[in-house]
């Protein structure tokens, strides 16, 4: 079992702390994207969320705890203490992850269940569909990738697949025109800019395995050929990630 981490509370607390670092390092870029598409407060709201989440983590009793505990603490901070709507929507995502973990460790199947439930909750609340240029465009491919993970796959491998799928989803939002929220009033003015909410979701998954200090890990596609494919620009919707394993 070398390298297979037990995804307990130590892992999830570390994940939330890494996410906080990543948001602090990229807040200016997130704000710039939101200024192009929304009302410019997304970066600050996400930063408020991770700071409140850190404070909530610090208030947890010391000692080992279930994976759900730090996730639920971070969820409560995002839900209760961030204004606007995108911050609390991140809280919903974390709440569903915590619920899926239950009292046990955060396994690959639990991640798949949690992110799927998060996608459903966010869609029930915001009524956004894939392609509307919202955080759904990162959450949806991440859920698909996780559902494609083999039941026995290591959870860190599953999260890496989710991060890659979410990042690919973010890159597709550049070509999309917003149909929901404030950005929908801007029409073509916001095209070319990725959706900041989707960037935030991709950053969340990317933070599972390290601390992204720039948005390059989300915005640059290192799997793409260096030259443009012969068929012209990338199609709007790439193929769904192939299931891993039998």
């Amino acid at each position: 079992m070398t390298g297979t981490k037990a995804f307990d509370g130590v892992f999830t607390a570390g994940w939330m702390r890494r996410f906080a670092e990543a948001v602090a390092a990229t807040e200016e870029e997130l704000t710039r994207f939101d200024q192009a598409a929304g009302d410019g407060d997304f970066g600050v709201n996400l930063l408020t969320g991770v700071r409140c989440a850190l404070a909530a983590l610090d208030r947890l009793p010391p000692g080992r705890q279930a994976a759900a505990v730090p996730l639920a603490a971070a969820a409560g901070a995002f839900l209760d203490e961030v204004g606007g709507t995108s911050g609390p929507l991140f809280g919903l995502v974390l709440q569903e992850l915590a619920a899926a973990a239950g009292t046990g460790p955060l396994t690959g199947p639990a991640l798949a269940r949690g992110v799927t439930a998060a996608l459903e909750a966010v869609q029930r609340v915001g009524e956004a569909r894939p392609g509307d240029k919202t955080l759904v465009d990162a959450l949806h491919p991440a859920a698909l990738a996780l559902r494609g993970c083999a039941p026995g796959a290591r959870p860190d491998d599953c999260l890496a697949m989710a991060a890659a799928a979410a990042a690919a989803g973010v890159r597709r939002t550049r070509a999309l025109r917003a149909r929901r929220g404030r950005a929908s009033y801007l029409g073509e003015r916001a095209s070319g800019v990725p959706d900041p909410g989707a960037v935030g979701i991709a950053l969340l998954f990317a933070s599972a395995g390290g601390v992204p200090r720039t948005l390059d890990v989300v915005l640059l596609d290192d799997t793409a050929p260096t030259e443009a494919p012969a068929g012209g620009p990338d199609p709007l919707w790439g193929p769904e990630p192939a299931p891993a394993g039998p």
């Binding site: 839900l79 209760d80 203490e81 609390p88 929507l89 709440q95 029930r124 609340v125 915001g126 009524e127």
Partner: protein, 345 residues
């Protein structure tokens, strides 16, 4: 137009809420930290908590309708802005009955999202929660408006009728379907001769030329679909009634009318509006069973009024007549106490 006496909008909302609670200590309890008002008392048979909320600036809605027989709690947001999901979540937990909590929500994107987030949280806690969406404003009834019709003054009728139904022990699903059916039988239209004063600038939110009336304004200063030349009140009211009756279903039902002031319209004018409305309905052979006149759902100090018509039935009228004890629902409209004697003419 003059600026507001208190120019810090958030301080104004918080202070007014505290003042409201001081004025009505027998009716409501105020939680200043969590930002909601709840009823001090509820009927013993009520199994579902009724909760509503939305931006401030529409007083007396919603806090004025908290009390026995109507809402169990109200969550006010900042001026013309949705309440935070935390207010809704905490208020819902505080007032949920054995069969959960029903959210009565006006159809605006921000309200839908914040009530939706609170509902997801309640669901995770095992508290049953359902929603009634009110979307009565005909002016926003257009194929091109993806968000659908806005929710306006009909909200108060829905709150009153559902309040009485909840007191009779109806469950969450029954109340939710009654509420949706009711919302489907209400339509409103609003006109204004002058915009409200913008709290941010102290100036009118939009300009209306002196000889014009805005036909189809919203309750947040949403501009009207058309500007009409001023005409006698009876003609204007007739035009509004015609528009409402065209879309109201079922088509020949007995009617409840709510003539609602938008904040800076005199009672004299509002009663005259009702009189003109009644005349139009009489001429058309429509039965006006109940009428309410006054400021129920305002738009700060907008000079204008709305007319809401509800296509009623016997059950709806009985529920509307049941007494409610709140700061703003007229007790005089309630059914007479047993043993009363009619004054003979």
């Amino acid at each position: 137009m003059a600026p507001y006496l208190e120019t810090d909008q958030d301080a104004l909302v918080a202070s007014a809420l505290a003042g409201f609670a001081r004025a009505h200590p027998s009716l409501v309890v105020h939680d200043p930290d969590l930002g909601f008002v709840r009823a001090r008392d509820r009927a013993p048979g009520r199994r579902v908590g009724l909760l509503s909320g939305g931006g401030s600036g529409h007083e007396p809605m919603h806090v004025g309708f908290v009390g026995r027989g109507m809402l169990d709690a109200a969550c006010p947001g900042r001026i013309f802005a949705s309440p935070h999901n935390r207010q809704i979540f905490e208020a819902s937990r505080a007032v949920a009955g054995e069969d959960g909590v029903l959210h009565i929500v006006k159809n605006y994107t921000g309200d839908r999202i914040n009530f939706g987030i609170a509902a997801e949280r309640l669901h995770r806690q095992g508290i049953p929660c359902a929603r009634v969406l009110v979307d009565d404003d005909l002016a926003s009834d257009s194929e091109s408006v993806a968000a659908g019709r806005r929710g306006t003054a009909a909200t108060v009728l829905v709150q009153k009728i559902l309040g009485a139904a909840a007191d009779r022990g109806l469950g969450l699903t029954e109340l939710a379907s009654l509420g949706s059916a009711l919302a489907g039988r209400c339509r409103s239209i609003a006109v204004a001769g002058a915009a409200h004063t913008s709290p941010a600038t102290g100036r009118p939110a939009f300009d209306v030329l002196e000889h014009l009336v805005e036909f189809g304004v919203g309750i947040h200063g949403e501009r009207a679909e058309l500007s009409l030349e001023r005409e006698p009140l009876g003609v204007l009211v007739g035009r509004m009634a015609l528009r409402l009756l065209e879309s109201l279903r079922p088509a020949r039902a007995p009617l409840v009318a709510l003539v609602n002031g938008l904040g800076a319209t005199t009672s004299l004018e509002l009663y005259a509006v009702l009189n003109e409305l009644a005349a139009v309905l009489d001429t058309g052979g429509r039965r006006l069973e109940r009428a309410l006149v006054g400021d129920y759902v305002t738009a700060l100090d907008m000079r204008g009024f709305s007319i809401t018509l509800l296509a009623a039935d016997e059950q709806t009228l009985a529920l509307l007549d049941a007494p409610a004890y709140t700061a703003a629902w007229p007790v005089a409209e309630s059914a007479p106490a047993p043993g009363h004697q009619e004054v003979r003419r």
